[in-house]
Symmetry: C2
Subunit: 666 residues, 2 copies
């Protein structure tokens, strides 16, 4: 008998009064106890705010990303222990790939995105610089700063590892401490994962706590700087929402009647037909259908109804149900006897509107453990039916329905009143466009698979860390994951107004109009650490002659008429006559600002946001103001420096502006 502990205020607290039982899914035997009525959730929340928050916020985004990487590496090295324990939840080895490996993969992606998509600082810039006046003396810039509270994560039983990791990764990256509250049925697996995380030794104190068992009065202690993320049933979501102050940021993933649509182009024998059949059978049986993203409704063109039912049934008939520890087994039990009862009850409600097209056999398994036979329904009247669009049987259960045309398919998909994901199997771009326009507002994700994508397609039911996970309406209206989008969920967007210099001081990034400092040394002679935003170089001038233009044209082969033919150029609405090539201006500008001798600048790696603002005519001269905008470390040897280049003419008018990327040695 395992005693699942909570991790509160830095210490492990054993289960105690009020603990609940955890059973092995395959045998029904009690294997663990979790929960303790004497836990102090209010104290845990205070500890997170006062100890964990300040420690996390003292780190910058890149520090926190490196921390996630270390966690991912450690979990990856120790994941066998999680596999071993997870069998007791009914998960097969293949299912572990979703929960354990999927969770670790999510950590790796957030570690990588944290370095690539977030700055090496404490403030995340959102969108562009907004000039608010004619001269640019006053402007606006949106930034995100970490919220000063705690992220309280309430998880469902079906993903004890992934469910926690996908929630804490963006919160930790944002600088917000987490308290995790797993569903009791699989809390023993989450507890082990928390132990492994702490073992890695990289999290600051107070950054992560665990509530095993009930939450007590935790919700009463949360306020405007806190966030609650919830995954579970709509009914429980409503209870949680009701217990929270309205100012708490709340996001929910709840019930979802996810649909898949077979395109009208995907006839029998087409790759898309076969892909749909495979996906439906897979979605019904992975995790014994206990995925909030699993396909519940299969929408196929009326004439393909029978072929689809036959093909899916054939696949389902090969499913081997049994003890998940047995390698020959392809589908384990659902998590508990209570959950089996619930699945069978819901399936019965669906069965009142639909006939059974296929049902697997359980044999002796029916008498022990939480086994459920895969069941495919066919609903002949999807327009008149209600339950097939509204009742989620959270197990290996789906319903096939025929549709007349694409608008009908979209209308049926939308009858789910909001779902996490809908998939579409088509090789026709026009079908894809029409379906996304028709169902996009009701679905958090639309997954399109076809012969071109199949080799790398990630699966209807697999939320990817790069993409948002959540859906409107019945699905809870929340969003998780989606790269930086989830990090922003734990931060507060604030619109900052001020002079460019003040905005630069706030963001740590030089912006046009802010103060510049010109030093005695050419900035190309300075090393990475010595290049400070605002450091600037003003070059000499160079006159551009008609001979330069002709020479450049002959050399490069770019004899575009605006450079070569005065009459044609004058007929053009943009030019007064022959003008210099844009690339000539860039090349001469580089010639003006480059410091040629070997030095810390290693390479020009790119260029962003180039705009040509005014033509350069023969006889005009140009000069460049080159200014350090910001810098980001890449490794021990060098980092990236972003420069602002402003090319102006002899009248001081702006000719071109762009941002230049270089690698600079440390």
């Amino acid at each position: 008998m395992q005693h699942v502990e909570s991790f509160a205020k830095g210490v492990w607290v054993p289960s105690g009064a009020g603990a609940r039982e955890i059973c092995d899914a395959a045998t029904g035997q009690v294997i663990a106890l979790a929960g303790n009525d004497n836990l102090d959730p209010g104290g845990m929340i205070g500890y997170a705010r006062e100890v964990g928050g300040p420690a996390l916020r003292a780190l910058d985004f890149h520090d926190r990303a490196r921390m996630l990487k270390a966690l991912a590496v450690h979990l990856n090295a120790t994941k066998q222990a999680l596999y071993d324990l997870s069998f007791s939840t009914g998960a097969t080895q293949a299912d572990h790939g979703f929960d354990v490996d999927g969770g670790i993969g999510t950590l790796f992606v957030y570690a990588s995105k944290g370095r690539r998509d977030l700055p090496e600082g404490h403030v995340l810039v959102d969108g562009g610089f907004e000039a608010l006046g004619r001269t640019g003396a006053f402007a606006g810039q949106h930034v995100y700063t970490p919220r000063l509270g705690v992220a309280f994560h309430v998880n469902a039983f079906n993903f004890p590892v992934w469910g926690m990791l996908e929630k804490i990764a963006p919160a930790l990256l944002a600088g917000v401490p987490s308290i995790v509250k797993p569903a009791t049925a699989t809390a023993h697996v989450t507890e082990l994962c928390v132990r492994l995380i702490l073992e890695a030794g990289v999290l600051p104190e107070g950054a992560l706590q665990l509530v095993a068992g009930g939450v007590g009065d935790a919700f009463a202690h949360l306020g405007a700087q806190d966030a609650v993320t919830f995954t579970g049933s709509a009914a429980t979501a409503a209870v949680v929402r009701g217990a929270l102050d309205g100012a708490v940021r709340f996001t929910a993933e709840q019930d979802s009647l996810n649909a898949t649509i077979l395109g009208p182009d995907a006839g029998v024998g087409s790759p898309e037909f076969d892909l749909l059949v495979k996906e439906v059978a897979r979605e019904m049986t992975v995790k014994a259908g206990q995925k909030c993203t699993a396909i519940r409704r299969v929408l196929v063109p009326q004439p393909l109804l029978q072929p689809v039912i036959e093909a899916v049934s054939a696949r389902l008939s090969r499913v081997v149900v049994g003890d998940p520890r047995d390698a020959a087994v392809t589908m384990g039990p659902v998590v508990s006897l209570a959950q089996r009862r619930d699945v069978l009850d819901q399936a019965e409600r669906i069965g009142a509107e639909a006939e059974i097209a296929f049902r697997g056999t359980l044999g002796a398994l029916a008498e022990r453990g939480a086994f459920v036979a895969p069941t495919l329904f066919h609903c002949a009247d999807p327009d008149g039916a209600e339950a097939v669009h509204a009742v989620e049987a959270f197990g290996p259960v789906a319903t096939v329905m025929g549709y007349r045309d694409l608008p009908h398919a979209c209308a049926l998909a939308n009858r789910g009143q909001g779902s996490l994901v809908a998939s579409l199997f088509t090789h026709d771009g026009a079908v894809a466009r029409e379906v996304v326009a028709g169902i996009g507002a009701w679905h958090g994700r639309v997954y399109i698979n076809d012969r071109d994508a199949a080799s790398e397609a990630t699966g209807h039911g697999a939320p990817m860390p790069h993409l948002t996970h959540g859906g409107p309406g019945r699905a809870g209206g929340g969003e998780e994951l989606g790269g930086v989008r989830a990090v922003q969920h734990y931060m507060q967007r604030v619109a900052v107004q001020g002079s460019p210099s003040m905005l630069g001081a706030v963001t740590g990034r030089w912006v046009p109009g802010a103060d510049r400092t010109a030093g005695a040394t050419h900035p190309f002679r300075l090393r990475f650490a010595d290049l400070v935003p605002g450091m600037s170089l003003r070059t000499a001038e160079r006159v551009i002659s008609v001979e330069d233009i002709e020479h450049f044209a002959a050399f490069t082969g770019d004899t575009f008429y605006a450079h070569m033919d005065a009459d044609a150029a004058r007929r053009n609405p943009f030019f007064p006559g022959r003008v210099a090539h844009g690339y000539l201006i860039l090349s001469f500008a580089a010639g003006l600002f480059v410091e040629p001798a070997e030095g810390p600048v290693l390479a020009n790696t790119g260029l962003d946001n180039l705009r040509f603002l005014k033509p350069v005519s023969p006889g005009d001269s140009i000069a460049v103001d080159l200014t350090v905008m910001d810098r980001t470390s890449r490794n021990a040897e060098y980092g990236e420096v972003r420069w602002h280049a402003a090319v102006s003419n002899q009248d001081g008018a702006a000719v071109a502006e762009y941002e230049l990327l270089t690698m600079v040695a440390k």
Copy 2:
């Protein structure tokens, strides 16, 4: 006596049973009746969904932006009527600038942003293309599609024109029909504005409806595709929130104890000291202090307490309170006698913790109309006080408090438990950085003013359409405005997964990896309308010799060591030896793809996202794949075409990628 009408299902409905009285603020006389218990809010909502929504969604973003421009132009031409009527609400001519001109200005900004920041299509792309596999066969792209419901806007009495226009502009731009419900006290002004809007004749049927008076059972008809935006008191916000299904997207702007902070650097005689004094007096008296963004708390360094009180009092003593129609008057009454009672009650609660530092005199005005004297409190114990941080006296009332140091100032500002805006008067970047880090999580906007910004600074209390308006906690937790951010509020973000070709079909934009079509004609010879995303050109190859590199270096002056010095280049971590200049590659690439003869391509206007991926050594050759990504009309003569340029070497390896912008004739 005016009978304020509702505009429902395409017809004007007069006030009737259950109508409420509207009084002139300066005289207290009843001037209008608004409301009708027989209005059919459920029918109006259905009409918006079934008539207005499809009509708006048939237009693209640019069509809708042009519609907003036409509304703005018409309102600007007819605004005198709005001025004339608005005096009855207590607003002075200067106040009309905020409400009427501010509202029209917001329409103009959204019209302009709609053309500049939104695509000429129906789907808004969100963020980058996310490759989800090794080869790029499968990827993700977030897009926004219009929600299929209605936007129901509940407005406060203080901005009958701006309050409506700032809400309907982003909703209409998103393609979502609006129903506007103004506060009854000033509904007659909103009604006139709706009449002027309809008179412009550009809105599709069902795009805009008006509820004058009570909302009846409207909220019970709203669901997951609908949005409610609310501006008003926290108490009313809670009532509205409680009446809504949890799936309705709800955003609120409610109470706010906005603070201003005088920086420790801003001593007596500094420009920042004077700017703060002016701003405090202005914020207290504009709209008689009835702005949700007005300064309620003035935080100043302890030693500057007395000088600030004296300077603000001196300014307040020059305020002329009276009938807003009188040009000499600088502050009118609050909106109603009820509102006056409320302001005086709240001021009394503040007065229990703070002493009166200044109070204006009303004389005979005190006996008629809803006049309130400007009142400045001083709170000597801001740490111990509660009401000064929690009670919003919605009139010409503010409280000055001293702070010890910046962390203390931040802590006091955050005692407001969330506000719409905090301002800071400082000329020290380090102060700005510390304050934004300290208070950013509790404030929707931070406004920094100093001597550099003052000439164009837009004012503490003025929400700008470019920047988000809203704040966490007590301020309601909502966000409005902020350019495209508010448009997204009325759309659903959906993560679309598929092959690059399918994603391109959904967005209407070619992405790398999607199918290309090569035509017989050079694409530079095609006009704007004939350039379809995916059209592509593959150029000839060109060998790059060491002579080319030396020639380019000598010609441009760019003799950077990586191009000129084989030994130094080899010591560099990026290069195998001497390599071609990036600008040489770009220039030769243009030489390869440009069609020189006069034709529809008018100019190269810019370049985005250039990355150099692999060095080019002497003897390597390059070729370019140039592909149309997308296009956006600019005017009747030409539009912008975005091209993808992929430069590869003799082995087919990618050397450089970028996006090229050109103007192309129609």
